[in-house]
Amino acid sequence: MENVLGLVALACGIIVGLGAIGASIGIALMGGKFLEASARQPELIGELQTKMFILAGLIDAAFLIGVAIALLFAFANPFTLA
């Protein structure tokens, strides 16, 4: 039982941590490219901004789903019920 609890706590940390790394790298790459592109062609900023926000939401989503699952495990742990 304690074993399971400890492993689930570790798993939650890994889920959130690795997800955050991935999402950060993704957002950083995209934001950097957006700034570069808008410096080259300032007239495209409006159009690119919409697309950037969509992609930011898509990148964020995978991470936030991970956070939701990790928080669910932390509070209503299905593995300790059995």
């Binding site: 926000f53 969509i54 930011a56 939401g57 898509l58 964020d60 989503a61 936030l64 789903i65 991970g66 956070v67 939701a68 699952i69 928080l71 669910l72 509070f75 209503a76």
Partner: protein, 294 residues
């Protein structure tokens, strides 16, 4: 928390708030879901709130059309026009078929506003409606469970994404014909060779399944995580409970409650709008894909 012996622990509080008000549709009695997929169980609270918000949205937009003038528009009319034009221009960029846009643009507008309103239930204090229900619900013979955020329910979001899938299939058949779509299903990604048919068909099925599931899961995951974080912030305030002694830890948790709540609600305003917008854009993109012939 230690002082009140009858109060729930943190885990009990979260678990209680994550329990839907559920009903068995075969007997119309309150029940609790035990299997992962159980089509006889209905989440009454999600259905009630989403229907109510849908009715409010329809009424407000109906009023906007009734009171619209061709002259100088008022603030309300200007706001609605701005929204409709924004959705229409996004639809124009993705779907190049004017007859399809007659159905798909209003659909996208509905999806955007409805999901935004449902997401907006997250901005209402997490304990307000559950607390009202805590006294009102059992008095009317219901169980003491209430979740006000319909999009933090996987049933709602997957229902929405499955409806989008149905519309995609409808347009696939309407634009390409049953035979044309059937041919595309077996010939599309890799090429029209008989030995590639099984692989192509498998890829197409995976694509449809992945699109639909990720469409629903994305909205659900975002809103569920947001709701859970609001509950955790509410727990910090629960520890505070008018503990005004700055030397105790509970007081500083209360300060943290206010700071964290403010920061998270400001961030979440962005998230709920963005997620509603993304859901709308992906609806348009998926329906637009149904128009493309490979």
């Amino acid at each position: 928390m230690a002082a009140e012996t009858s109060g729930p622990t943190a885990g009990e509080y979260i678990r209680h708030h994550l329990q839907h008000l559920q009903m068995d549709i075969t007997t119309f009695e309150g029940t609790k879901q035990t299997a992962i997929v159980d089509f006889t169980v209905v989440n009454v609270d999600s259905i009630f709130w989403s229907t109510l918000l849908g009715i409010i949205m329809c009424f407000v937009l109906w009023r906007a059309t009734r009171r619209a003038t061709a002259g100088v528009p008022g603030r309300f009319q200007a706001a609605v026009e701005l929204l409709v034009e924004m959705v229409e221009s996004q639809a124009k960029g993705v779907i190049h078929n004017a007859t399809s846009r007659k159905l798909v643009s209003p659909l996208a507008l509905t999806v955007l506003i409805w999901i935004f309103l449902m997401n907006f239930m997250d901005m209402i204090p997490v304990d307000l409606f559950p607390h009202i229900w805590h006294t009102a619900g059992p008095a009317m013979g219901f169980k003491d469970y209430m979740r006000v955020l319909p999009t933090a329910d996987l049933s709602t979001t997957l229902g929405l994404s499955c409806s989008v899938l149905a519309i995609c299939i409808f347009y696939n058949i309407k634009i390409k014909g049953l035979g044309g779509w059937g041919h595309e299903l077996v010939a599309a990604p890799f090429g029209d060779k008989w030995f590639l048919y099984p692989v192509n068909f498998l890829m197409q099925m995976i694509e449809f399944a992945a699109k639909t599931v990720s469409h629903g899961m994305r909205l659900f995951g975002n809103m569920f995580a947001g709701e859970l974080v609001f509950m955790l912030i509410a727990l910090m305030g629960g520890v505070w409970a008018f503990n005004l002694n700055p030397l105790s830890g509970g007081f500083w948790l209360g300060v943290g409650h206010i700071i964290a709540g403010t920061v998270w609600i400001l961030f979440h305003i962005l998230v709920i709008t963005l997620q509603a917008f993304i859901f709308m854009m992906l609806t348009l993109i998926y329906v637009g894909q149904a128009h493309d012939a490979h």
